[in-house]
């Protein structure tokens, strides 16, 4: 299983990654080998095997609908590079 340059570029765009030509080559190879492994798994007979949605056999882990006080706004915003009027300030994209 190989993966084309275009596919690498598409996935990189979706992940907002800027790749150099050399990196594209490298990742095409990496991703190709991962997909090869998945291909191998596909050969297994999984007749009657339930799909695995979660790694642990646990279900219905709930929290009560109760409000707890939120941390101070300054703490939440402490790591933001830019803050204005109690809000994160980011470049506009629309």
């Amino acid at each position: 299983m190989t993966i084309s340059f275009e596919e690498v570029e598409h996935v990189a765009l979706l992940a907002r990654l800027q790749l150099k030509e050399k990196e594209k080559e490298k990742y095409a190879e990496h991703m190709g080998s991962i997909l090869q492994y998945v291909d191998k798994l596909q050969q297994l007979d999984t007749e009657g095997v339930e799909p695995l949605d979660h790694i642990l056999p646990v279900f219905n882990i709930f929290r009560e609908d109760q409000v707890k006080p939120a941390p101070k706004r300054e703490e939440i915003l402490a790591n933001a590079p830019l803050v204005e009027a109690g809000q994160y300030k980011v470049p506009k994209i629309i």
Binding site: L14, H54, K68, G86, Q87, Y88
Partner: protein, 479 residues
């Protein structure tokens, strides 16, 4: 060439839990920016979501109200995309195993009933809000308020069964109505707790395959939804007639310009790369859980409609308007506890009350009139102490002040004169003053009484009981 419009709606409803879906932050609307925010809903690395049980409870309730099948097994998935209002760069949603599916709602439009299919309803978290200072086009920045991030949402996806903007509106109104009755959301479009995206396409009449659709976002009111769909339908028809191809894309409704505008090009078409959310274990919804909720379901609008038609002999039209919201119906029900004639209550609610509420742009929860006061006013009319005309004035004063009708009548000195002796005296004076009119009457000009009644009303500044005046006058003239 004639075209057929095909519409499917994606309706988002915020569930009215106390806390958010995956953390304990408050789910209140309108707080100061970023004051209901914690490391979980602001997407700090390493934080773990834990599902709010009440959210699932409400989703099941909503599903039942929407006539859906409730899944016995469902799970959450990550929907990956980049946007500044989504701090984790993924939204926790449900992809292939939603909590509700295969439902329907019956709508009535133009006197005909129509069943609209509901494909699915799934749970997800709401995103934050982008705020722009000044005009959105001039500022290079967005401010991000994450109070809404993590608010529980139910997304209800319809089948492409709607054929006009009016049908779409009727469907939206029906969703609002059943969810209000189910008590799972306050469904306020103006606060964004009820929102919708519309998928719109057109095709030549008779064609079986669907045309290419566009998705319209930013529909923040029923009116905006209708206008945007009408605009988009017209735009697509004109494009096709000009030989252009419709591009599958997302468009936004621009309220100020009253147009839809393309938001994203096809090249950037969404590829969300869903995968199962590893931080949340799947759900097993037992039959017992669902049955317990079925037992606790409140009356739904259609049941309420049948009930009040049955109990009070209301028309289907009146009954369906009275059952649009549980608050409106609650007012009616409260009145009927103290007054025998539901039809009269309905007339006042649908007439004067709705008129005044619309004028002031209020909903019934903000109405100052107490149901008991409305009933008192109706009783005063029955007793002949106020006329229908006076009642309207009393009603308006009740609406303004919230005072009981007795107090208003006293204050305005507007009590109706129903005392026979008093009226007789006035009538005899009027007769004495108008001998020629009386003669006309006795010579067969029966219409002459109208003038005499008018004189009596004038003499009493409109306060004479008109039925009594007619009675006494007839007696005196014929004697």
């Amino acid at each position: 060439m004639s075209f057929e419009t095909v519409i499917g709606l994606e309706v988002h409803v915020e569930l009215k839990t106390r806390s958010k879906i995956f953390c304990s932050c408050s789910n209140e609307f309108g707080a100061e920016p970023n004051t209901n925010v914690c490391p979980i809903c602001s997407g700090f690395p390493g934080m773990l979501p834990v599902l709010n049980q009440q959210v699932v409870e409400y989703a099941i309730k909503a599903g039942l109200a929407l006539n859906c099948e409730i899944a016995d097994y469902c799970k959450f998935d990550r929907k990956n995309y980049f946007y500044p209002d989504l701090p984790k760069a993924y939204q926790i949603s449900q992809y292939d195993l939603p909590v509700c599916k295969k439902g329907y709602l019956d709508i009535e439009f133009g006197g005909t009933k129509k069943r609209i299919g509901i494909t699915r309803a799934h749970l997800e978290e709401d995103a934050g809000k982008l705020v722009h200072q000044g005009s959105i086009s001039s500022t290079p920045f967005s401010l991000v308020d994450l109070n809404r991030s993590g608010v529980p949402l139910l997304e209800i996806v319809s089948e492409p069964d709607l054929r006009s903007s009016q049908e779409a509106r009727a469907y939206m109104e029906k969703i609002r109505s059943v969810l209000l009755f189910a008590g799972v959301s306050d469904c306020k479009m103006e606060e964004g707790s009820l929102r919708c995206d519309a998928n719109v396409s057109v095709r030549p009449s008779g064609q079986a395959t669907l045309g290419t659709r566009t998705e319209i976002k930013n529909l923040n009111s029923f009116k905006a939804m209708e206008k945007a769909i009408d605009f988009e339908v017209q735009r697509q028809i004109e494009a096709i007639e000009d030989g252009e191809e419709i591009i599958q894309e997302t468009r936004t409704w621009e309220e100020d310009k009253q147009i839809t505008r393309s938001m994203r090009s096809k090249e950037e078409a969404h590829d969300y790369r869903y995968f199962p959310e590893p931080d949340l274990p799947p759900l097993r919804i037992s039959r017992k859980w669902v049955n317990d909720i079925i037992q606790s379901m409140p009356e739904m609008p259609e049941q309420a409609r049948e009930r009040i038609m049955d109990e009070h002999g209301l028309s289907a039209y009146d009954a369906s308007l009275l059952t649009l919201t549980p608050d409106f119906l609650g007012f009616f029900d409260e009145c009927t506890r103290y007054y025998h004639d539901g039809k009269i209550i309905s007339n006042w609610m649908m007439g004067e009350m709705s008129k005044l509420l619309n004028q002031k742009n209020l909903d019934i929860t903000q109405c100052k009139i107490n149901p008991v006061h409305l009933v008192d006013m109706l009783k005063l009319m029955d007793e002949g102490r106020i006329s229908g005309k006076m009642a309207k004035e009393v009603f308006e004063a009740m609406f303004e002040t919230g005072s009981p009708p007795e107090a208003i009548i006293k204050e305005k000195g507007m009590e109706q004169i129903s005392d026979e002796d008093t009226l007789e005296k006035i009538i005899l004076e009027v007769i004495a003053k108008n001998p020629r009119v009386v003669e006309d009457y006795r010579n067969g000009k029966k219409k002459a009484t109208g003038f005499l009644v008018g004189q009596v009303m004038q003499a009493t500044r409109g306060q004479a009981n008109p039925a009594l005046v007619n009675q006494i006058l007839a007696r005196k003239l014929n004697s």
